[in-house]
């Protein structure tokens, strides 16, 4: 059953549940962060409308910096501003930032340990018609391998807004991954959000699904449907991939004895990898990682691509029934 302390959207399981892209939540959060702290500045690389930094640019034109199509400059100018105490949010598409400027992020943001916020929109196959060149599926791996970096992947637009505000208050390098396409609003303003703290959204103890981003909604659908078949599924919303909430993950392994992870990212180096690193060394249990299997995306509509790449409620249910058989052996 739904964890009442998560205060999820009561219309969560309605077919007409409200939907919004996580990038919209970022856009709203950025304006609020700018109102709260005048040190907040925003930089963009010719994608101000698409990354939803535009509302900030209109409200605070003196604190908005357009760098043109130049992602290396985007983060290094941001690093320079952060050296002076600014809190820069640097937005682009994730394939370009952190995709193209990884070394600059490594050296001038992470090793320098300055609070630049890298915001990568348009992650995953749900980018849709633009195709594989614009569908970031490797960004979690790139960012979570960096010392000092915090990696956040919100489940919906409300959580993206909360994450933006929380990142602005944290004097550390952060990466925020966002989606282009709209996704069901799972949480409410009352849902707890703390960087580094995963939340149990659905209670159960046969198997745990640890999901992130738009896969959280799909995991909840799977849990609800399996409850009818007397399979008790715990769904964990893991919005912070680094630092991972190790204790919650280990508890899930101990309580449930089997784990499925779900993310819109390569299976290599993402959330599933992070979970595997923790449970294999602390409390090994059977694990299935749902993600993109070592290939590039392609053009198509968002839902078509979720289906083609096996990122669906059905894929999660199949993984659960499979892993339960492994667990029982």
């Amino acid at each position: 059953m739904i964890n009442p302390k998560a205060y999820l959207n009561p219309k969560l399981f309605d077919p007409g549940v409200e939907q919004a892209p996580t990038r919209n939540g970022y856009g709203e959060g950025l304006v609020l962060a700018g109102e709260e702290d005048e040190q907040v500045v925003a930089l963009c690389a010719d994608l101000t409308e698409s990354t939803k930094a535009k509302a900030f640019a209109e409200k605070f034109p003196q604190r908005f910096i357009e760098v043109g199509v130049a992602e290396q400059n985007l983060v290094t100018v941001a690093a320079g501003m952060a050296l002076l105490g600014k809190i820069p949010f640097a937005s682009s598409f994730a394939t370009f930032s952190p995709g193209r400027n990884w070394e600059q992020i490594r050296t001038t943001v992470c090793y320098n340990d300055v609070p630049v916020k890298i915001v990568g929109s348009h992650v995953g196959v749900s980018v849709g018609p633009d195709g594989a060149t614009h569908q970031a599926l490797e960004d979690i791996a790139m960012m979570r391998s960096l010392p000092n970096m915090i990696v956040i992947s919100p489940a919906d637009a409300i959580e993206a807004k909360k994450a933006t505000l929380a990142m602005a208050k944290l004097s550390k390098p952060c990466y925020l991954r966002l989606s282009r396409d709209k996704t069901p609003v799972v949480t409410t303003e009352q849902t707890p959000f703390k960087i580094g703290k995963a939340e149990i959204f659905y209670e159960g103890d046969d198997v745990a699904v640890i999901a992130t981003g738009p896969m959280v909604y799909r995991a909840l659908l799977a849990a609800k449907e399996l409850q009818l078949r007397k399979i008790s599924v715990r769904v964990i919303n893991c919005h912070t991939i680094k630092p991972l909430d190790k204790q919650l993950v280990i508890n899930a392994a101990k309580d449930c004895g089997a784990i499925v992870t779900a993310e819109e990212h390569q299976v290599t180096g993402g959330l599933g990898g992070a979970v595997a690193e923790v449970i294999s060394q602390n409390f090994p249990v059977p694990l299935k990682i749902i993600g993109v299997e070592d290939r590039f995306g392609e053009s198509g509509e968002s839902e078509e691509l979720f289906t083609k790449f096996g990122l669906t409620k059905e894929a999660i249910m199949k993984a659960i029934t499979h892993i339960l058989r492994v667990k029982e052996r």
Binding site: V41, Q62, G68, Q72, V77
Partner: protein, 272 residues
Amino acid sequence: MNIHKLEETANLIRQDIIKMLLEAGSGHTAGSLGMTDIFAALYFHILNYDPAKPGWSGRDRLVLSNGHICPVLYASMARAGYFPASELKTLRKLGSRLQGHPHRTSLPGIETTSGPLGSGLSQAAGLALAGRMDKASWRVICLTSDGEHDEGNTWEAVMFAGKNKLHNLTAVIDRNNIQIDGFTEDVMPLDSLRAKYEAFNWHVIEIDGHNMQEIINSFNKAKTILEKPTVIIAHTIPGKGVSFMEGKYEWHGKSPNKEETKRALAELKNHD
């Protein structure tokens, strides 16, 4: 300091560099010696700073983009009083604050971490822009190599600073014509740097990077240019001051052995 005293100081810094690099057993000799006159001018005449308060908010910001020439930075900082000269011999050693390439959080007084080429000028531009937002009166000086003008990131920064008319930013190019694989004009031709910078709305000054008076005049002139950033193209001789190193790209990333150190120090001491 007067010109004569600055030249003497530069000579002492060159000796420090040779000794540090012998002790370290590796490191970048040619560029360090080539930029020593400019470092002496900066630390002992141009820059506003307080070694007792490295975080003083009113200080000028020196960004060393080509971090591999940090021996000259460390030697200048030690002589300026940031840390004891005895610490210079820890360069590149385990546990040292003097990392092989400068690391901001290791050593107070280092404005930013550098080494990977091409990212210093845009950080300097970010600092200058943020300083202008805060109506600060200090200046940003960014030292770059000519070789790192192969990097796209450098030109992104050149465009950005020109667009934003960052007059509180002064860039210096160490135009020594060498890089690791050979002469810059063979590896990847850069001329005309003057025409390129002018095309991006910078004020350009060209100097002899070993003429102390010209060095000082150029930084003073940059302060008076209020409508655009200034770049000082400093023509230097890599390995300057040590005859068998001068102009030799082989000395870019090599440190002297005992015998070479002895000869180098003897030459430098003769200049005193």
